[in-house]
């Protein structure tokens, strides 16, 4: 399944080829590192799910992920222990995580999720530890935990952007903490300043530095041209060994008579392209197609000419004349000698835009071939730089702007991207272009190293590209996608491998007993928290033991619930494609909450049944029943994660036949 993705990216690191992914690089770097250390040579192609690994050494990478995945159990155990000061609660949480088939399946393979969850839980644990050191601030252990929180935050952010939620959680916690300190009048303002500074240092500066360092390593390691080039700007591409922009030199300023290629500035935007084929009957005027094409091709070459003169500018004796901001130009397609043309016919796909065609014979056309060239933020008369200048082409006759809509044309357009002239004058990358190749024998060439972007620019650009990539992952119409409300009820899992009866099948699905227990617990917890809060607010006097219990419910449980909310609710607002495994960070919090809630509830029940012996029996019995239930359900469902062979569960002869409790499960 997704191993094809992240395993492949691990290989890229080992081969040092540049690639692009929507997630930050740390997770894949760690996978690559694990593979490297365990002797994987990065040659396995990771083509499609289900391919055999043969002789390739993949155990290192899987083992690494599985190790991080298993660390979750002690982390959760320690966190709950710290929050509730109750061994049974911590044990219960640990049992839940050990015996949850979903967690097991997810940590077994080369995926980013175990790494993400490792850092995430690490951050939570350190935060909790640090809070419990609050009585002795600035001690060594306090500093240690505080710094470690920062490191883990950087790690979580560096694996996936979902790490942002844990940053929020820690941030909110820190703000509350500081607010308490501020209200403490025994603390002088100087002391408060020290507290503030320490937190800024450890929780903001340290993670930021590490995060940037991560990207620095990423860009240093990946210095060869690879499949990710096209996503980045021309200036960035010139940094990669093997890219055709690497170490080339071209004239810096655009002049009339130059032969150029124009690249659209939208994400993965293509080159302005034309070819001998005409638009088919019924789609605008029957003139030559103009499209955007993602690959380098001779048909991407255009010649810049003056709009009124048709002299041969290649004549070496004529003086060089530069193109300036605001000039009116004509673009002639080099191969077919037709001019870039637009008119008031509707575009093939985007009906509200105008069609763009190639028109004229041997460079003679009409006034619809005139375009005004403007640089973003430029002034009249300024020269236009290759690669650097962002250029807008305005059609003189209709006032529309040349742009690429990003929609793919049907068969007749060779599945290239539509180019239109948009009458809506908006500043979007769709309607901006830059000049990439530039050939003009009359001008001196300069090396592209001058254009070398600074590290900050690279960092910014890669983030922009990642964010755009993420928001580009939209579900298609009619596609069945996973909805966030499916997740806590364990509505539907994910098929990891194998579809048919004869395959070895692994199915990512939470242990239903555990998940439904978690779900019930959330409701139960809300009920308990509200009643506790109201009781306290009404000023009811509590015994010291009950006070301790209410503290655990409100403070400990509150932090965990906040974590759950932060890791779950934002998905309802996301427009991108969602998968079941996105719920797992929230599930960790939910499991911890289960441990705390049931422990408190049992303690409370035991207190109500006051005789000592019955109380202990009730408490012990309840606890034991929960643990046994969890273990038994694991026994039932363990084939989900360790693999099943044989008939599907819908077949009554299958060993899993009785376990398909919901019709939506597909094992």
């Amino acid at each position: 399944w997704d191993e094809t993705h992240f395993g492949k990216m691990g290989s890229y690191y080992i081969n040092r080829t540049f690639f692009f992914d929507v997630h930050p690089p740390l997770g894949k770097m760690l996978i690559g590192l694990a593979g490297y250390l365990s002797g994987y040579d990065g040659t396995f192609p990771f083509q499609k799910p289900g391919d055999r690994y043969e002789q390739h050494n993949y155990v290192g990478m899987r083992g690494f992920c599985a190790f991080l995945g298993s660390c979750l159990v002690p982390f959760a155990y320690l966190t709950v222990l710290e929050l509730s000061r109750s061994l049974p609660a911590a044990l219960l949480t640990a049992f839940i995580l050990i015996f949850d088939t979903g967690c097991i399946t997810l940590s077994q393979y080369i995926l980013l999720d175990p790494i993400l969850m490792f850092f995430l839980m690490g951050a939570v644990l350190c935060m909790v530890k640090c809070n419990s050191c609050a009585d002795r601030p600035f001690s060594a252990s306090w500093w240690f935990w505080l710094c470690l929180t920062g490191v883990n935050l950087a790690g979580a952010m560096g694996v996936k952007f979902v790490g942002l939620f844990v940053v929020l959680l820690v941030g909110l916690n820190t703000i509350c903490d500081l607010w308490d300190l501020l209200g403490d009048l025994s603390l002088s303002l100087v002391m408060f300043g020290k507290h503030l500074l320490a937190r800024v240092l450890c929780l903001i500066l340290l993670p930021l530095t590490l995060y940037t360092a991560m990207f620095a390593v990423h860009f240093t390691v990946l210095n060869k041209s690879g499949p990710g080039d096209g996503f980045f700007s021309s200036a960035f591409q010139s940094q990669l060994i093997g890219n055709n922009l690497h170490n080339v030199s071209i004239p810096e300023y655009l002049a009339y008579g130059s032969v150029v290629t124009m690249k659209n500035l939208r994400m993965a935007g293509g080159y302005l392209h034309s070819h001998w084929h005409l638009y088919p009957e019924g789609i605008g005027a029957r003139q030559q197609q103009v499209t955007a094409y993602l690959h380098k091709d001779l048909n991407n070459l255009w010649i810049i000419k003056k709009h009124d003169l048709d002299t041969d500018l290649s004549d070496p004796s004529s003086p060089v004349e530069f193109v300036r901001h605001g000039d009116i130009i004509r673009l002639e397609h080099k191969e077919t000698c037709r001019n870039l043309h637009s008119h008031q016919h509707e575009a093939p796909l985007t009906r509200k835009h105008f069609q763009v065609t190639g028109y004229g014979i041997n460079g003679t056309g009409d006034s619809n071939d005139f375009w005004r060239i403007e640089v973003v933020g430029g002034k009249a008369g300024k020269l236009i730089k290759v690669l650097r200048s962002q250029v807008r082409l305005t059609h003189v006759a209709t006032g529309c702007i040349l742009g690429s809509s990003g929609k793919t044309l049907p068969k007749w357009g060779w599945e290239q991207v539509e180019v239109t002239c948009t009458p809506y004058l908006k500043e979007t990358p769709n309607s901006l272009w830059n000049f990439e190749d530039h050939i003009n024998p009359k001008l001196p060439n300069i090396s592209l190293d001058v254009l070398k972007p600074s590290f900050a620019e690279i960092l910014l650009e890669s983030h922009m590209v990642m964010i755009r990539g993420n928001s580009g992952l939209k579900p298609k119409d009619n596609e069945v996608t996973s909805k966030p409300w499916h997740w806590p009820i364990n509505y539907q899992g994910l098929r990891f491998s194998g579809v048919n009866e004869t395959d070895y099948r692994v199915y990512l699905l939470g242990n239903p007993v555990i998940w439904w227990l978690n779900l019930v617990t959330i409701g139960l917890y809300l009920l308990m928290a509200v009643s506790t809060a109201v009781t306290l607010k009404r000023g009811v006097q509590l015994t010291s033991e009950l006070k301790e219990l209410s503290r655990v419910v409100l403070c400990g449980g509150g932090q965990i619930t906040l974590g759950w909310l932060l890791h779950y609710l934002p998905f309802f607002l996301m427009g991108r494609v969602l998968y079941f495994h996105h719920y797992f960070p929230a599930m960790l919090f939910s499991s911890m909450l289960t441990g705390i809630t049931w422990d408190t509830l049992l303690k409370f029940c035991a207190r109500v049944l006051s005789p000592r012996i019955t109380a202990r029996k009730v408490y012990g019995g309840g606890f034991l029943a929960l643990v046994l239930l969890i273990i038994y359900s694991f026994y039932l469902f363990h084939p989900l994660s360790y693999g099943m062979i044989g008939p599907m569960a819908s077949d009554p002869s299958s060993p899993m036949a009785g376990l398909r409790w919901m019709d939506s499960w597909e094992f």
Binding site: L182, L189, K411, P423, N478, V480, G539, L573, S664
Partner: protein
């Protein structure tokens, strides 16, 4: 009993002349020359068509919001005697004489005018001085954008009116809470809060934000009451129940009643029928109901049916087949079975008819008595005109190579065996022995051999010989990942087949259905469906010349041209009062900085301002800054086309903040400055009033002078 004889009846009236004067000024500013321009202005073209449909009682679905706002606009039309005959097709089109422009625009204008006294009262209830209240009302009065938006048949001014009304009545209620709870006026204001909230939500879903804000504030106030040890548990519960009733149950009931009225008013079928389910369509007069009226309810072996895909997206379509076969080889080189094509066809056609056949029997007529088909039964589907069986097999479908091709089985030149058994699964069954019902049952067809599910897919773009273009692919989906509406079908037209002979049957298929049973959908079923359609219906992402992003609104970097006179330069723009917008921003920033400062100081037990003043400051901020934030910030995560007018509710709250901050600072500012500032507001109002009211017409030079920002799009005619 005769007490009035002893003590004479005395009516003491206290009239705040300020308030009256403000109301009059508000009315003048909003109602002046209301019927000008006598042409369609901006979104009137959009709302107008719904008013017309209301007048004609034709059913429609509008995904932009719930129906209450549309109904209010239609009420204006009804009172003005509008007959609904006007073609709303173009902004700027002249109104014909039968359109009562004045009364159509009257309600929004009245709502806009009443916002002025409401603003006054809110500040008074927040316990600020009458001077501050007067300031707030004047600022609202002189805000060009609010005036423009109120003067036309648009919904924002109504929305703002209800929002302000809800806020005001909650404040009144809260102030009464201290001394006289459970009194008559206490109940009145509490109930009015709930009613105003539901009206606001009913006009536009944006009202939900203010509703949630008020709920949160009410919750906070109640939380403070819980801490009050003087109140007994019983009275606390009474308070809680009263609030629950007024703020939750009544709004929900009102909201439902809007839909009830909407559905009662609109009983005729119309242009939006096809996005609703067959059952819904059948409940409307005309349209589908005319056809389905009186057809047999239970599908039996031998029934002749048409099968409609439940999804209805991208268009409604029916399972269809025709004599053409799939091409032997597609353009991309993949092979096909070369059998008869099966598609999902978006038009009614005689080729949409299918016959349900019992695999064990040969006959294609309904026996007497009919044997109904139940959940889990295995059937064959026979195409009526060609008498071929619906079949699927392990061949890649024309467009989706991962799914199975569905075809009609031809009995010659075939190397593959027929696999034409389908299991009927009723999705919305109540028990496992449910009968398959016309229109009501949603059915999945599961292929017996491969357990693939019959599904409608995307557009067929390639040419299938005769049928080209707009038809949808039908496939057998092997990996049936849960429930999706594209895999569910329902019977739309239905009759019991009588003719055994093919020729006679063809004649029968061509003749319209006639039988007699009728049924009706309950209100709740209709409501759920309509509500769901409103929420999920997505218009295509439309670009608009005047659309803007939320960030542009604070600084008013954008405007909207509403109308342009066909010959002269007279024009109407949605443009705010620049001074007011700027000062509102300043007030918000000052408020937030000051609050933070006070808050931190108070945390260190340093009290700069007395407790009472602090409380007032906080509650005013909670309403105004809170109202601004909840009505503005959500737009950053919304993925729809946004316009400047979406900002107006937030702006109203922000304007209310100006006098609050001003009064707080007034100890340090001289009043001359305030007067100067107010007169500048007035001056800007006067400057921009030509584009607010659309007259007088301005010359090119004057228009150019009005273009204070380069990003504004003032229309200048080329000479």
């Amino acid at each position: 009993m005769l007490g009035f004889l002893k003590n004479p009846v005395v009516v003491t009236a206290e009239i705040n002349m300020n308030l009256v004067a403000l109301t009059v000024m508000g009315l003048i500013s909003r109602l002046w020359g209301l019927s000008y321009p006598q042409a369609v202005v901006f979104d009137e073209v959009y709302y107008g068509q719904f008013v017309s449909l209301y007048m004609k009682r034709i059913f429609f679905v509008d995904d932009s919001g719930p129906p209450f706002g549309h109904m209010l606009l239609a009420l204006g039309g009804y009172l003005g005697g509008f007959d609904g005959n006007f073609l709303w097709n173009r902004i700027g089109a002249e109104y014909s004489a039968n359109v009562p422009v004045q009364s159509l625009r009257l309600l929004p204008a009245l709502a806009g005018a009443l916002c002025v006294p409401l603003a006054y009262q809110i500040l008074v209830e927040l316990q600020f001085s009458h001077c501050a209240a007067l300031g707030a009302a004047l600022l609202i009065l002189l805000e060009n954008s609010l005036i423009t938006q109120s003067r036309f048949m648009l919904l924002e001014s109504i929305l703002i009116f209800f929002i302000l009304l809800a806020v005001l009545s909650y404040l009144k209620f809260y102030n009464l809470q201290r001394h006289s709870f459970f009194s008559g006026s206490w109940w009145f204001w509490l109930l009015l809060t709930g009613v105003a909230c539901s009206c606001a939500v009913g006009v536009k879903y944006m009202g939900l934000f203010t509703y949630i804000l008020l709920l949160a504030i009410a919750g906070l106030h109640f939380w403070q009451m819980i801490g009050d040890q003087n109140l007994s548990n019983v009275s606390l519960i009474c308070h809680f129940l009263a609030r629950g009733l007024a703020l939750i149950i009544i709004p929900v009931a009102m909201y439902l009643s809007f839909f009830y009225v909407h559905l009662t008013l609109l009983y005729r079928s119309g242009p939006h029928d096809q996005i609703m389910t067959s059952a819904f369509q059948a409940s409307l007069e005309g349209g589908l109901a005319r056809i389905t009226q009186g057809q047999p309810l239970e599908v039996a072996y031998g029934s002749q049916i048409t099968l409609r895909n439940v999804l209805g997206k991208p268009m409604q379509c029916w399972l269809h087949s025709h004599t053409n076969t799939y091409p032997i080889r597609y353009e991309n080189g993949r092979g096909s079975s070369h059998q008869q094509q099966v598609t999902c066809y978006p038009f009614k056609d005689v080729n949409n008819w299918w016959i349900v056949k019992d695999p064990g029997m040969q006959q294609l007529v309904v026996s007497n008595p009919p044997r109904p088909v139940r959940h889990g039964h295995i059937v064959q589907l026979v195409h009526g005109i060609t008498t071929r069986y619906l079949n699927t097999h392990d061949v890649a479908a024309p467009l989706s190579p991962h799914s199975q091709e569905v075809s009609c089985y031809i009995d010659y030149n075939i190397s593959m065996p027929a696999q034409n058994l389908w299991r009927v699964e009723i999705v919305n069954r109540e028990s496992d022995t449910d009968v398959w019902k016309t229109i009501l049952s949603e059915v999945r067809f599961v292929h017996v051999n491969t357990s693939a599910v019959l599904k409608a897919g995307g557009f067929m773009n390639f040419h299938l010989e005769v049928q080209t273009g707009r038809t949808l692919e039908v496939v057998g989906e092997k990996l049936s990942k849960g429930y999706h509406q594209s895999m569910v079908w329902n019977v739309e037209e239905h009759r019991y087949g009588k003719s055994q002979e093919q020729k006679e049957r063809e004649v029968e298929l061509h003749s319209p259905t006639q039988m007699d049973i009728s049924k009706n959908l309950s209100f709740m079923a209709k409501f759920t469906e309509l509500q769901w359609k409103i929420l999920t219906l997505k218009n295509e992402d439309t670009e608009h010349k005047y659309s803007s992003s939320a960030l542009d609104w604070i600084t008013m970097d954008t405007n909207i041209a509403y109308w342009l006179h066909p010959t002269s330069g007279a024009q109407i723009h949605l443009l705010g009062n620049v001074v007011t917008w700027a000062s509102a921003n300043v007030a918000a920033v000052v408020y937030m900085c000051l609050s933070l400062w006070y808050l931190i100081r108070r945390r260190r037990r340093i009290y700069d301002i007395p407790e009472g003043k602090w409380q007032r400051w906080v509650s005013a901020g909670g309403i105004c800054v809170g109202g601004w934030a909840v009505n503005y910030l959500p737009f950053f995560v919304m993925e729809k086309t946004l316009f400047l007018y979406h900002y107006l509710p937030a702006l109203t709250f922000q304007i209310l903040l100006i006098p609050i901050v001003l009064q707080h600072l007034s100890d340090h500012l001289c009043s001359a400055l305030t007067v100067a500032w107010f007169s500048s507001v007035y001056l800007v109002y006067c400057t921009f009033s030509p584009v607010t009211y659309g007259k007088p017409s301005l010359s090119v030079a004057e228009l150019k002078q009005l273009r204070w920002k380069d990003s504004w799009n003032i229309l200048i005619r080329k000479q």
